[in-house]
């Protein structure tokens, strides 16, 4: 039971970051390989605020998220203006720089040996509620004017500008939203693990999140959520297989790329209308009657 709680809590924390990556990669078509660095900023900042400055938890988290957003703005400023190919590389460099900084600022961060003594405040319930809220916020975002503009510019920036869309601003909004979510997930992470070190936030982690989004369906928030659930739980479940788990993981993703390129769910979203449609379709199949019409 303790193991299950542990796995679930971590899965929910990951889910928050993946919701952020969905906004960035799924909606807007940008790849960040420095996303985990924002998680690091959230973790370290909230930890330091509470442990070293004695701040209460909630303001510490708010401040940590704000700090990450400010840093995000500085990185985002060039990033949203560059051609897409550059974004992943610039953010990659950023991630490395943050890791180096955290290792170097020993007196504040504990350096390479990590920052310890953070109280455990994150419970399964807090993580679960946070994850649900994060996914809900992103769902609202997707169906808003912002979401539409993100999808529009993802496909065709020039046509988007011709429709009056401020491409740079919309990209920045999406980037900062994803930064805020990731930083928040970092706060929860720090107060769950009670210990953070600079190595846990490298570009592989950012890449993993992109793969999760993709695995479930890059155009579907439901799919991305599902992908995050399956793939973040998988290495924990496969723990018995030790070193082989990443190989299995990679083979699974390669299979999806080659044989189901739109991801598990494609563009399908969990909405009341789609549920009804699917349900009616199922019922029609089961009863063998022509009940398909009422589904539409």
């Amino acid at each position: 039971m303790a193991l299950l709680t542990n796995v679930l809590t971590q899965v929910f924390i990951t889910l928050i970051s993946v919701a952020g990556v969905y906004v960035l990669t799924g909606l807007t078509g940008m790849f960040s390989l420095g996303q985990a660095a924002f998680m690091a900023i959230g973790s370290y900042a909230s930890g330091i605020f509470v442990v070293k400055l004695g701040m209460p938890l909630v303001p510490a988290i708010i401040l940590a998220v704000l700090l990450a957003v400010v840093v995000g703005y500085l990185i985002g400023y060039p990033v949203v203006r560059l051609r897409r190919d550059y974004i992943s590389l610039v953010t990659l460099g950023f991630g490395e720089a943050i890791a180096a900084l955290l290792t170097r600022m020993t007196s504040l961060t504990g350096g390479a040996s990590g920052f310890t003594g953070i109280p455990r405040r994150t419970t399964l319930a807090i993580a679960a509620v946070s994850a649900i809220l994060a996914v809900a916020l992103v769902a609202f975002f997707k169906s808003s004017k912002y979401g539409r503009q993100c999808i529009a510019l993802r496909g065709d920036e020039l046509a988007a500008k011709a429709m009056g869309i401020n491409v740079i601003r919309v990209k920045m909004t999406a980037f900062l939203l994803s930064v805020a979510l990731t930083a928040y997930s970092g706060c929860l992470y720090a107060f769950y693990m009670t210990y953070v070190d600079p190595n846990g936030f490298d570009w592989k982690k950012s890449a993993d999140w992109v793969i999760m989004v993709f695995f479930g369906g890059v155009n579907s928030l439901t799919g991305s959520t599902l992908g995050a659930f399956i793939l973040s739980a998988l290495p924990q479940v496969l723990r018995g297989l030790q070193n082989y788990r990443y190989v299995i993981y990679a083979v699974l993703v390669l299979l999806i790329i080659n044989f189901k390129p739109s991801g598990l769910l494609g563009e399908w979203e969990l909405t009341p209308r789609n549920i009804k449609r699917t349900w009616n379709g199922l019922r029609a199949k089961l009863s063998g009657k022509a009940g398909k019409k009422e589904g539409h």
Partner: protein, 290 residues
């Protein structure tokens, strides 16, 4: 700044140049960032270590085997990771995810074999250093610099002067038209991967000599990425210039600031550079057609 530092920087820069060109070649032809390049370097270097150098072979044999292994790995990657999505004209998302997944796969396989241990290549040179007047230069640095430069000159010759090179440039310019003109673009793409793999193998061995061999050695590929961003994505000349610059600047920063802050300073320089000249040293700013 002493000449010593400059020479060290050039040696480091030449390795970065090998990484950056291998990366830029793929970008040039398929227009995506190949994030499996790092793990290809590691895997090829380990293959060479276990196949020959652990049995006492010299540097030449090690490099040859690493090059062949790199080519084989890259070909495998092209087939399982990129063939289908290239033929489908899939969006960049797929190339991104595919290359990262391949990287995870190679690194995972290396970890299965070696755990998280460190390995050392045997010492390839009897004299670890050479005295050149007042300067003491490490033999391996000189070897790396020389071999890298030779490899890059051969590459430049192949691309500029041979039929293969022309076909490669044609495919990079417009794959579909090249195909219509009778160029087998799948074949050319495979060849590009082979060349990139060979460069990865050589770079992997050099990194192994310089820093010892370990499963995540490939993350040093970041240096190659930064070099090709500075040089202008997809430009081979730019990648080489960017790499040498990066190598020298980094070595200077390292001696002034120490290891942690030099990474940060390097990144800051790249960021400022991109703001001032987003197309890189050699890159042309591509105008989207309306």
């Amino acid at each position: 700044m002493s000449l010593q530092i400059l020479l060290n920087g050039l040696a480091t820069g030449s390795i970065y140049a090998l990484i950056a060109t291998g990366f830029a070649l793929i970008f040039n032809v398929l227009k995506f960032s190949n994030f499996s390049h790092g793990a290809t370097m590691t895997a090829a270097a380990f293959a060479a270590y276990f196949l020959v150098s652990a049995n006492g072979a010299g540097l030449a044999a090690t490099l040859a085997v690493a090059g062949i292994a790199g080519a084989a790995i890259a070909l495998f990657g092209e087939f399982v990771g990129f063939r289908r999505i290239t033929l489908n004209h899939s969006s960049s998302t797929y190339f991104f995810v595919s290359s990262i997944t391949l990287g995870t796969l190679y690194e995972g396989l290396v970890t299965v074999k070696v755990g998280s241990n460190f390995y050392n290549f045997p010492r390839f040179f009897t004299n670890p250093t050479i005295n050149l007047g007042d300067f003491v230069i490490s033999t391996s640095d000189i070897m790396m610099f020389t071999i890298s430069m030779v490899a890059l000159i051969i590459l430049a010759y192949v691309i500029q002067k041979t039929r293969l090179g022309r076909a490669l440039r044609a495919v990079s310019f417009d794959r579909d038209t090249a195909q219509l003109m009778g160029i087998d673009s799948t074949r050319i793409i495979q060849l590009t991967f082979v060349i990139s793999g060979v460069l990865a193998g050589i770079a992997g061995v050099f990194l192994g000599i310089k820093y010892t061999l370990y499963p995540t050695l490939g993350s040093l590929v970041v240096k190659g990425f930064i070099a090709s961003v500075i040089g202008g994505l997809g430009s081979l000349t730019g990648a080489v210039i960017g790499a040498v610059l990066l190598g020298v600047v980094e070595t200077i920063l390292l001696s002034v600031l120490g290891s942690g802050y030099s990474t940060i300073a390097t990144f800051a320089i790249m960021l400022v550079f991109l703001l001032l000249r987003p197309q890189g040293i050699a890159g042309s700013n591509v105008q989207e057609k309306a």
